[in-house]
Subunit: 372 residues, 2 copies
């Protein structure tokens, strides 16, 4: 019999931890009093979880590992979340730290379809960190966005993503925007030989998003962006599996406040549900992420986890080209650095500053000259 | 020009609050440095938010009210969440407390299609609190679930919902389960005159859930259940608006850990996105919810908020019939009490215990006999 192993941090006094762990196990498997579950042989043998392990955590509380049967989780991509952290999310004492999946659950998930290698093939960047920027602020017209796109592409950037606030606005409708921005990168590619990947943001209901995905692919875009927690994880899963033949970049909007350890949500779960690249709030920028959390998220995205391809980490949030060397040293080559506002501040010098950013990443990634 | 007003609690020292509030405003509107936003007249005038108010909070931190332009939020049901709490969810210092919406945003949301009155019409319960129970544990066969359903219906319960762990399992496939359970309540209605509403759980990808909704309605079920945060709010919105002609009960799975005040997420947002009734963790049960939080959630669901119909509060989570009077006194008549495991513990006496639960609610709601 196969189990999912789920690791929670449970913050209760030692006198309560044993009962609390047992109650979380019941909550996350049969959700009835034990005597009700025990009445049915199939439920007793196949649906009931068990507490595997309780150890004190360094900071506070306890690290509790619970084995949960696969039967519920394996059914659909909503049920896996339900089993990992459905009702237990309602306990403020409980944080989801980690999980391991047996083959029967993994069989339901394909993970990234492109991953790091696929994104490298699409951008033609074989061996250095990639560079990315964002079209913003929301409020620009289609022409203004396409002009930004053109200038970023002329600066040699690898990927140009929409801001996550770009929806289907009256002042820059989705279809017109996508068409104009893709034409801009195509035109630069024809003229200069450098083909930037334009990555529009998909947003809305399933019907709206699936239509956006079809339109964008018809226009020849190289990737799309979506926010898994904003759309919902089962919706994101379906988008990736049934509606996309190009890579997808996951945006962290609405994901930050879950009591799920960052590397587990934005690293492991986003990757499992199909993100080829994952944007996350970097240390030292606008957000208060720590180096440790960022390193753990990057590690979860790239970890050896067969059969899943590794996802590309995309640290972001108030970065600047001045930090390229530091960030390349910290995150290594299989990374895409996302710098948005700090390039846009260059105004008329946007193309030059973009080129300086790309060059700084190339330099940072080049092997140091030998000391002869 | 219309604005959304969003209220956050921001937990930073007084020396930082002014700058931090300004940075949250930028993050939630233009997401660029201010000098970039100011360059474009349309962005400056129509997309930029402003900080309205900063006051110290009693416990800690500050209550900050920010006006955000409607332009981004009004576009689709994902963008509203993006504007309310997208990137700001990544700041652990920031809690979403409340929001108010102008007419142009409200125009995009219908709220509950049935609400309290609609559920009363469907159950034929005009003036007392309603009663609800759950089919569980997961692992039962279709026959076992249908048998439970029949016995609950014979006990006079108003609504019988699937456990949220019931998906499309090999051992109780969705279609067979829904057919058998609906037949069970139909058969009891024909025989006894009491028609319980059977409410199956919808779970999976958009494609799966929309097919489940169509099948369940073809079978004549009276309501369905779905977990908005598990599926994703824009997916839930679309389910309600485009795929359902019967009431929908919202389940709180995966909703508990957001840094959004409970009455704002499970009360206001679930209602805005279309929940006719909302299950929430009650005080004094398996979860550590406080009386204040429960009262606030019920109040948000029933508050006067034109044009939205009020939603039915459904306190749940380790309740028992012994608490009917207390809970009816606390929540008042426009409430549905959900008791699951404690009825199931009755085993062969399930019908009798269900009847006792329903009777206890009727008694608790009856006017006290006059003292003559």
């Amino acid at each position: 019999m196969e189990n999912i192993e789920v690791v929670y941090r449970i913050n209760v006094p030692e006198s309560q931890i044993s009962d609390f762990a047992e109650s979380v196990m019941l909550e996350q498997s049969v959700e009835t009093p034990l005597n009700v579950a025990l009445r049915y042989p199939f439920v007793r043998e196949r649906m009931l979880g068990h507490v595997l392990n309780i150890t004190p955590e360094a900071e506070a509380g306890f690290r509790v590992t619970i084995a949960l049967p696969v039967e519920t989780a394996a059914v659909d991509p909503a049920q896996l979340l339900n089993v990992l952290y459905g009702n237990s999310s309602l306990h403020e004492e409980v944080v989801l730290l980690d999980f391991t999946l047996p083959p029967s659950v993994k069989a339901g998930f394909s993970g990234p379809r492109f991953g790091i290698d696929g994104i490298r093939r699409r951008t033609g960047v074989a061996d250095r960190p990639l560079t990315c920027t964002a079209l913003k602020p929301v409020g620009l017209t289609v022409e203004e966005l396409a002009d930004l796109c053109r200038r970023f592409a002329e600066g040699g950037i690898d990927m140009i993503k929409d801001d996550h606030y770009l929806g289907n606005h009256p002042f820059s409708p989705f279809e017109e925007r996508v068409q104009a921005c893709q034409q801009a990168v195509d035109e630069v590619a024809d003229r200069t030989g450098h083909r930037a990947v334009y990555c529009p943001n998909l947003s809305g209901t399933p019907g709206q998003v699936f239509r956006q995905a079809a339109f964008a692919q018809d226009q020849g875009v190289g990737a799309v962006m979506a926010a898994p927690m904003l759309l919902g994880m089962p919706f994101f899963f379906d988008l990736v599996r049934s509606h996309l033949e190009i890579p997808v970049l996951a945006h962290p909007s609405f994901a930050g406040s879950e009591r799920i350890r960052e590397d587990t949500l934005q690293g492991k779960l986003f990757r499992l549900y199909g993100a080829d690249a994952v944007i996350f709030a970097n240390y030292g920028g606008r957000f208060s992420a720590s180096k440790e959390v960022c390193a753990a998220t990057a590690a979860a995205l790239r970890a050896d986890w067969p059969p899943y391809a590794p996802s590309l980490p995309v640290p972001a949030g108030g970065m600047s080209a001045a930090r390229s060397r530091e960030l390349v040293d910290f995150f290594g080559p299989d990374t895409m650095l996302l710098v948005g506002g700090s390039l846009l501040e260059a105004g008329p010098q946007l193309t030059a500053r973009t080129r300086a950013f790309v060059d700084s990443v190339k330099e940072a990634a080049a092997p140091a000259p030998e000391n002869t």
